[in-house]
Symmetry: C2
Subunit: 306 residues, 2 copies
Amino acid sequence: MMCSVDDERVRTELVAVITAVVDGVPRVLTADDGPRLPSGPLRSDHRSLQGGLRAWVEQQTGHRLGYVEQLYTFADPGRASAGGRRVISVSYLGLTRVGSSGPAWAGWYDFFPWEDRRPEPDLPDPVAQLGERLLQWTGRGDDDETARRRLRAEVTFGLHGRPWRPELALQRYELLYEAGLVPESPFGAADVRLAPGATMAHDHRRILATGVARLRAMIQYRPVVFELMPAEFTLGQLQDVVEALAGQHVHKQNFRRLVQQQDLVEETGHTHAGTGGRPAMLFRFRREVLDERQVGGTKLPVQRVR
Amino acid sequence: MMCSVDDERVRTELVAVITAVVDGVPRVLTADDGPRLPSGPLRSDHRSLQGGLRAWVEQQTGHRLGYVEQLYTFADPGRASAGGRRVISVSYLGLTRVGSSGPAWAGWYDFFPWEDRRPEPDLPDPVAQLGERLLQWTGRGDDDETARRRLRAEVTFGLHGRPWRPELALQRYELLYEAGLVPESPFGAADVRLAPGATMAHDHRRILATGVARLRAMIQYRPVVFELMPAEFTLGQLQDVVEALAGQHVHKQNFRRLVQQQDLVEETGHTHAGTGGRPAMLFRFRREVLDERQVGGTKLPVQRVR
DNA sequence: TCAAAAGTGTTATCCTTACACCCATGT
DNA sequence: ACATGGGTGTAAGGATAACACTTTTGA
């Protein structure tokens, strides 16, 4: 029997962006070498793509994934494996809770320092520096292409008085890639200072950026934050998690009012003390809203920056 | 040389949901046998998934795809091909314009009659009938599972005074599937009357439903409708296209105001006469907004139904 | 002259955003 | 006493949804 390696046969792997918030830091599950995102081949005993990923992550981490959704499928030629055979990566976003961090949980912002806009006083603003280098790359000319590039840089990075929009994380990464400001990029020049931040193996940093952007967009209109919370929590803790994900502060009073008047939570009757202030009421997520609302209608107010 | 058919090798195909609006009807490009959605294998000369699909559709239809985005990747075991080899389908949503309809362009609502809610006077409402059969399926009980099912049916189909939400098209199809009310479903009983509408080969009707739902959701916050319009158009024509996609009427005055005050369009100076009324001003899409806005901020007002 | 489609103006209501202030606990 | 985080009330501005009405053409 002859072997015919036809074009249609490719290697398929599942890549997981598993996120949890530990110690006020959004973290992603990684494998040490690279580092890289956990990934594995699709196996025939997996009943579905999502099922395969679910079983596989639960086995590895011992934690149930509260929420899993497909992120994106990648198959660019740069991803071909050594033998020249094509690799298709089906990526998933998963949300979970973990007790302690451990080395396997890397912080989002180790890879994207510029994505955390919560002001740390006195530190130099990475966005200002990146913005300068980006505008240099776009060029000062007035032709169409140059103008479009400059506009893109201004919008995605919130330059020249435009608002910073957390959910544009992927566009920002892609712009840095095009400008040759990340080491993964083939367009880099020898003399430019690269953007700060750790890299990952293959194109995993891009996949992570996809997950970050998707999650940030999603928390604005879907009640998914709660998958990252313990069974009981205070509104302050909830706000901390949202701020960690958005990389940005939210307006306290409006946040509380919005969460409550949308009936997303209900009081448990318990309180949480010992934070050096007035004890807070504990709440629990009203899971029913997932059925009642079906996708939409859960806005969280982000504070305007600039 | 021996053949080792390892689990990791699968057949990968690209499936296209190509949509255009012709004669006020949203249509999808189909192949006659089945009918089914156009699909073809991923080839090694395709530089990327999207590139492969793009080249491939343009070659077939002679039309440039204005907008292409990945829809979803399917790989359930039911999709295994005859030899038991797994099939992975990467689906894409594409928007284009065509001059005339022709047999290859099937209407959306041939497959989903219940999704068009624009009142045709005197005709029986398919949703009312489906709703009745669905509620029968959910059961009258009071246990948790029954109650959840009933709530899902009410929300997705807008029963009992809840609003009809166009973008829930996929959830509606999936509910009908679970209830055994579509022929594709394995849960069907012999004695129930099925939902109206033509079927497609394989799971292509589900993929189409995914595309319909995605596009309906998207027109509410992204200026993609314009990919379906000619270079110059009247606001009335634009509204007609939106209504065709949403399967629902929109509020005329608010629609016009919203489109104009968001600076989505600019006057061309020409007018369009011969519709049996006052001639309308012609507009053109301001492509710049794609760069200026980057994704967000383009709401189109849908009229509340019920 | 009338129907049909285009286009303008105005109002009530809700949601978003922001500000100012009071409350209960630990040190 | 006072710092810290928890919690409430209320007002200004903008977006939304709905209303009624005028204008310009073709038949």
